[in-house]
């Protein structure tokens, strides 16, 4: 591919990696604090998977930019300020309760599966191969989320109330999921268009939510900011995740 396309695709992949890494950070915060031991383990698996996906996307970006595959992913994770990140706001929101965390994952994972279905067909071979691997893992993530949805939505009055509250809080952040990603406009045939994923996502999500007796809020104030804008939570998250690395800039770990 030509250099201009390379740079565009790298930008796109870094945004995908940012989503995964920040979500992995949030999920990993549950490790040791989940409602039951089996879920400490299950949520850690999800976080391990997402972290692995972030590295894969960053490594592909490194190749496209002719950067060091070993060091570039760490550079992206540890030496960018909040304004340089391109993740959606949804993933950086604090964990809240278990309902919020499970539902956030579910909303995000359904989109990922849709996107990966397209990426598996990418004309750029290394991307198609990585997408095929990640796709398999995300299928499980959606299965996990879909199993939880009716159990919490229909379980007890309290669990239903918490789920509906979580949905009301999360819903305004979903329009941002369907903005074109950085670099995307120049990548036709290489990646699926993100706005094109919305219809399929909406059909699936609304049906699953309905079968769990959950309804998207009728009125919500969409937080549809560009990916260049981060939440305040992102500052706290980064000051924690980058503290050791930045205090020892020249160190190898």
């Amino acid at each position: 591919m030509e250099t201009r396309l390379n740079a565009g695709l790298a930008e796109y992949l870094i945004a995908l990696g940012d989503d995964e890494l920040i979500l992995s950070h949030r999920d990993s915060e549950w490790c040791g604090h989940a409602p039951i031991l089996e879920e400490d383990i299950a949520f850690a698996n999800l976080a391990v998977d997402e972290l692995g996906h972030a590295r894969l996307w960053y490594e592909l970006a490194a190749e496209l930019l002719d950067e060091d595959k070993e060091r570039f992913p760490d550079h992206l994770a540890y030496f960018r300020d909040a304004s340089e990140w391109r993740n959606v706001q949804l993933v950086s929101l604090p964990n809240g309760d278990w309902a919020f965390s499970v539902l956030r994952r579910y909303l995000f994972d359904v989109l990922e599966v849709e996107r990966l279905r397209g990426l598996k067909q990418s004309s750029y071979k290394p991307l198609a191969e990585a997408a095929a691997k990640i796709y398999n893992e995300e299928l499980y993530h959606v299965r996990h989320g879909r199993a939880w949805l009716p159990r919490l939505g229909l379980g007890t009055e309290e669990s239903h109330r918490r789920m509906q509250t979580a949905l009301n809080d999360l819903w305004p952040f979903t329009p941002q999921l369907f903005q074109a990603l950085p670099g995307e406009s120049e990548l036709s045939g290489v990646v699926p268009t993100t706005p094109g994923l919305e219809a399929e996502w909406r059909t699936k999500v609304v049906a699953d939510l309905a079968s769990a007796n959950l309804n998207p809020p009728e009125k919500s104030n969409p937080m549809n900011r560009p990916r260049t804008q981060q939440t305040e939570h992102m500052m706290d998250l980064l000051s924690e995740s980058q503290m050791v690395a930045r205090a020892n800039v020249e160190a190898r770990w």
Partner: protein
């Protein structure tokens, strides 16, 4: 005190197609479907598997060689009429081993199933027997192998060989000081 830790399910794993299933342990889960997901998350953090089974603990009849040795249990088993069903038979064949799948029998109840299995397996030392109805098992689907079981294949960092510490120590000792 009410138990909020959910019921227990036995988890069995088949590493390669065609090989016997082997007992892994238990998971706590609210229901059978969730127990399969929990079984996957708890026991497959390292590859590999071809199939995973979960069975509610209370569906399993268990007897040890010691419980069976004086023969009184066996003579107490009554002939039963009623509908026949198929039962899986698992046994512990070695002191150090796990329980593994050793056969399947048809019987009118779990006790008859164990009795039949014992006569079929005569001459073999079985330290622990488990039988449970085929209908009590939830098994993973062949189509799910990729999404259920392959995630840990890339976890090379879980091998101790990933960490070259012996070489590192040798080099440092050879240098004599840091």
């Amino acid at each position: 005190m009410s138990d909020t830790q959910w019921p227990r399910f036995m988890v069995f794993q088949q590493v390669v197609a065609g090989e016997p299933l082997v007992h892994n342990g238990t998971v706590h889960a609210p229901d059978l479907e969730m127990s399969l997901l929990n079984g996957r998350d708890v026991f497959l953090r390292r590859p590999a598997a071809h199939a995973l089974w979960v069975v509610p603990v209370e569906c399993i009849l268990t007897k040890t060689i010691e419980e069976l040795q004086d023969g009184s249990w066996l003579t107490g088993v009554k002939e039963a009429g009623g509908p026949m069903a198929r039962y899986h038979v698992f046994g512990k064949l070695h002191h150090q081993g796990q329980l593994e799948q050793i056969g399947m029998v048809e019987a009118a109840g779990p006790e008859q199933a164990l009795k039949t299995a014992m006569s079929e397996q005569q001459g073999r030392t079985v330290w622990v027997w488990w039988v449970f109805p085929v209908s009590s098992v939830l098994a993973s689907d062949e189509d799910d192998i990729d999404s259920l079981f392959r995630f840990a294949e890339s976890h090379d960092f879980k091998n101790q060989a990933y960490y070259p510490v012996i070489t590192m120590m040798r080099q440092i000792r050879a240098r004599g000081k840091r």
